[in-house]
């Protein structure tokens, strides 16, 4: 079965819905395909807030926001892209407010802003600690208002390609079963991140790098894949994130001796240094024996019950549910966890990939505004700003393209059908979760907060073995059509393995330390040789990767030593 639209958006998180709304405003026929109902998307779990230089609390300026972003990125961000994001932020956030978004407010009625790591001013607008949730719901409201067609619980398996052009997406209908294609003149990927390849990730089960893998297999280049951000405060049991807002509101990080150890590593910014710095400091404390059961302690007790209940109720609840700790009485044990993929499908500042008809926005994309290290609060912003820009461009260019004939997706449908049939027919071999567990272990051990040649090479080897086992066949026990999540997990694990491979190989490739990529065998940043993006690609026919470099766009800010 094939349906046709002008623009199809794959993914209904913040980036996807924002793109869909803008495309709908562009007057074209838009559809959204999502493996989850839109409000189930992982954008909803963002707690801390969204950066915008409104200057409601203290003087601020989009130029300072831009500088903070670039410095935070360890000078790997493309500066033109960062400028656009920080300057257009103001209008976009005001628009969200006008759409009806709930924000925490100052006594004078303006949107409240709180300090976040590595920001020169209290710049993070928020709604208590449910910012992503309120944004996601206001975006869904607007999606309904614009009457955008949503294919709910459609799992996109592959892009439909007609030669070099993307002609839509081929999906598995999760609820009813069956391969169904959505043909479109413009296809926008907004499928979010890929944290599930790590143990202890803050990401949802659905964050499996699907869009990156689909684009990659179609020949689109991926950029800076080695740049996985680790969040400094995640719970040990399952990686659930405790927001940076806890430190923004005045929380302390302590080691087993009760010492506020950040004073040693970032004497000025302390707990609010940038994420890579805090994560490394924690790792060092833990590995030098000053941890508590593999964690450090996030201490909120001095804030008092009132403050915690008012400003951080969600964090208190999460610590209760997943660590059995009441933050009012006791410090929360936390450790760094895989959080955000700075890299992704390479796009220009309009979300365009080098593949005709294919766009990307949000965490799946790499514009790049985050470079080697994203600032907290900047990725929600990216989804909104670049979601809008990408939706507008996809609609505009769709109108210029010829309609896609439904038959142009036939090859894609056949391929997907074969893959599904093969998965369902496999009778012996590992279950997909066994492979994912093994992958997550090697990733956590070898591509974590600190990396070196030996470890990363080990990971590359492990991944190659896992990929070979996967290709031999994984067993899907569920053979039915209706809500066969066993089947979709198996497909997801295939994406994860391939994306992990790009991450590990790019990691080996970059022989310096920059932002999240911190090597113990190359401890310094090396601007002479490595002030550049890594670009990894393959062709649809040949699964071998090639890795090369591409220049970073520098406009105003020459690289400087980064201290906090």
């Amino acid at each position: 079965m094939v349906t046709q639209h002008d623009v199809v958006i794959v993914g209904a998180g913040l980036a996807g819905m924002r793109a869909a709304i803008e495309a709908a405003r562009g007057g074209v026929d838009v559809a959204v395909v999502s493996k989850l109902h839109p409000v189930r998307s992982h954008s909803g779990s963002a707690e801390g807030g969204i950066n915008v230089a409104l200057g409601n609390v203290a003087d601020d300026d989009p130029d300072i926001h831009t500088f903070d972003t670039i410095k935070g990125s360890d000078y790997l961000a493309d500066q033109d892209a960062a400028e656009i994001m920080c300057h257009e932020a103001i209008e976009d956030i005001i628009e969200l407010e006008h759409m009806g978004c709930y924000f925490s407010r100052l006594p004078n009625g303006r949107i409240a802003q709180r300090p976040f790591g590595a920001a020169g001013s209290p710049r993070t607008a928020f709604a208590a600690d449910i910012t992503g949730h309120v944004l996601l719901h206001v975006m869904y409201e607007q999606l309904l208002k614009h009457e955008v067609k949503v294919y709910e619980e459609y799992f996109a398996v592959d892009l439909a390609m007609d030669g070099e052009t993307c002609t839509g997406v081929v999906c598995w209908d999760l609820v009813n079963g069956g391969v169904k294609a959505v043909a479109a003149r413009s296809t926008v990927l907004a499928t979010g991140g890929m944290g599930r390849m790590f143990h202890g990730t803050t990401n949802a089960y659905a964050c499996t790098g699907d869009g990156m893998a689909m684009a990659f297999r179609a020949g689109a280049p991926l950029k800076d894949m080695e740049m996985m951000q680790f969040h400094p405060t995640t719970l040990k049991s399952n990686g659930v994130l405790i927001t940076e807002g806890c430190r923004g509101e005045g929380g302390y990080l302590r080691n087993s001796e009760g010492e506020r150890f950040m004073a040693k590593y970032a004497p000025n910014a302390l707990e609010l240094a940038s994420r890579d710095v805090v994560s490394r400091s924690e790792w060092t404390e833990i590995h030098e024996g000053r941890g508590v059961d593999g964690c450090v302690l996030l201490d909120l007790t001095h804030l008092g019950a009132d403050h915690i209940n008012r400003a951080l109720p969600g964090s208190r609840e999460l610590a209760l549910d997943h660590a059995g700790v009441d933050a009012i009485d006791d410090p929360i044990p936390v450790r760094p966890g895989a959080h955000y993929q700075m890299g992704g499908v390479a796009t220009d500042v309009w979300g365009r990939t080098p593949i005709e008809g294919l766009y990307a926005a949000g965490e799946v994309a790499c514009v790049s505004v985050h470079g080697a290290n994203r600032l907290g609060g900047n990725s929600l912003l990216e989804t909104v700003v670049y979601g809008r820009r990408t939706g507008a461009k996809a609609a505009e260019e769709a109108a210029e393209r010829r309609p896609v004939e439904a038959t142009r997706t036939a090859a894609g449908i056949d391929m997907v059908r074969q893959r599904v049939n093969r998965l369902l027919a496999t009778e012996s071999g590992p279950r997909s979760d066994e492979l994912r567990e093994a992958l997550a272990t090697t990733m956590y051990d070898n591509l974590g907060v600190f990396r070196d040649e030996a470890g990363m090479t080990q990971a590359v080897k492990d991944i190659a073995e896992l990929r070979a086992r996967y290709d031999e066949g994984v067993v899907v026990q569920d053979k039915g059509d209706v809500f066969n999540s066993d089947l979709t997990y198996a497909i997801e694990v295939g994406y994860l393995l391939e994306m992990a491979d790009t991450l590990a190989q790019c990691g080996v490739f970059r022989k310096e330390s920059r932002g999240a990529h911190s090597r113990t065998d190359f401890v310094e940043r090396d601007d002479e040789n490595w002030l550049c993006h890594t670009i990894v690609r393959r062709t649809p026919e040949d699964p071998e990767f090639t890795i090369e470099t591409a220049p970073v766009t520098i406009t105003k800010h020459q690289p400087k030593v980064r201290t906090y």
Binding site: H42, S45, G100, G109, S237, N238, D321, H322, G324, G480
Partner: protein, 385 residues
Amino acid sequence: MKAKLKIWRQTPRPDGSVQRELVPFEIDVHEEATLLDTLDAIKHHVDGSLAYRKSCRMAVCGSCGMRMDGRAVLACKVRMAPLVEDGRTPVISPMGNMPVIRDLVTDMSDFWSKIRATTPWLVQDDTRPKPADGREHLISPEEQAKITKESLCIMCGCCVSECNSMEADPAFMGPAALAKAYRFVGDERDDATRERLKAVDTRHGVWDCTRCYFCNERCPKGVDPRDAIAKLGAALFDHGMTRDKGARHAQIFINSAKGKGSFPGTGLLYNGHLAETALVPYTLGPEALLPEWAMMGVRLAMRGKAPPPWHSALHRQEGLDEVQELWRILEREDGPSRRGGEFDTPAGEMPPNIARSLRGMFTARELNERTGTKLVDEPTEESAS
């Protein structure tokens, strides 16, 4: 630890019927494991065909609503350790009030269409002036707080699953959609209040709720949908939309409790004693004379479930004084400016008999302590000194 579950597995057969089977499982999980982790362990190590929804595992995406021992929960918010310690084997089943797709996966399309039917987005008049500086609307923290609870809703469906009214009337809009409706009625930036209220003032709207409070109790996020429904009811009164039987019932209940009403010849109802027997006929109006209603009244009386009509002439409901005083305080506090919109009828004076009894019951200070509110017409200590 070893966790035990029994899961209602349900598989649709090609002929449209459903095969149901209660299947026991026992599986090793880690100490911090949730119910969702336990289902995962089963799916990965025992039976890959178990179907349930999940995503964020941090109680914000709303995917994993299901029933545990007959009560709706988010699987990711239930810790297994206490259950294991107590040696319990919880029974897991899909949410109620929704068709089952398979195992624990329900069809939520009715849920979403009810949300959709509330015009769930901000509506502003073209005539409303935009903020002059091109920035945000100025909303005080107190004003914004009016919709805080409703903004917490993650649309997991737990409230709808447990809704008794929806069980009786599947067309009832239900707690989630009504909470969403209030989210905009309570928003200062929205200009469609009247239309929104009209949309909930229907046979299947606000007054269809039986006030069992299950939604409040089972909501995993503290939205308290029943409170939102009450707020909608109050807003209906504020806007003079009181024609529904539900509204009439509430109004007559209040009048009877206050001892104040406007019908002629209603001394029995409005003597300030709260006349339960008279409530129903006055709510129904002439319809009360229809044989079905009349017979039901007789049957109730014969079974001792309705006091005789003269009962309230002699008996005053216990605790009524306090209720009356609370009402009085609310009438003063809860002015049109606070709730938005005009009152249909301005708050009246309490009859002298009630005022007297109140003064006899509490001092000004006690009232202050009991209600946290100062009386205006009673001398307080500060004003006295």
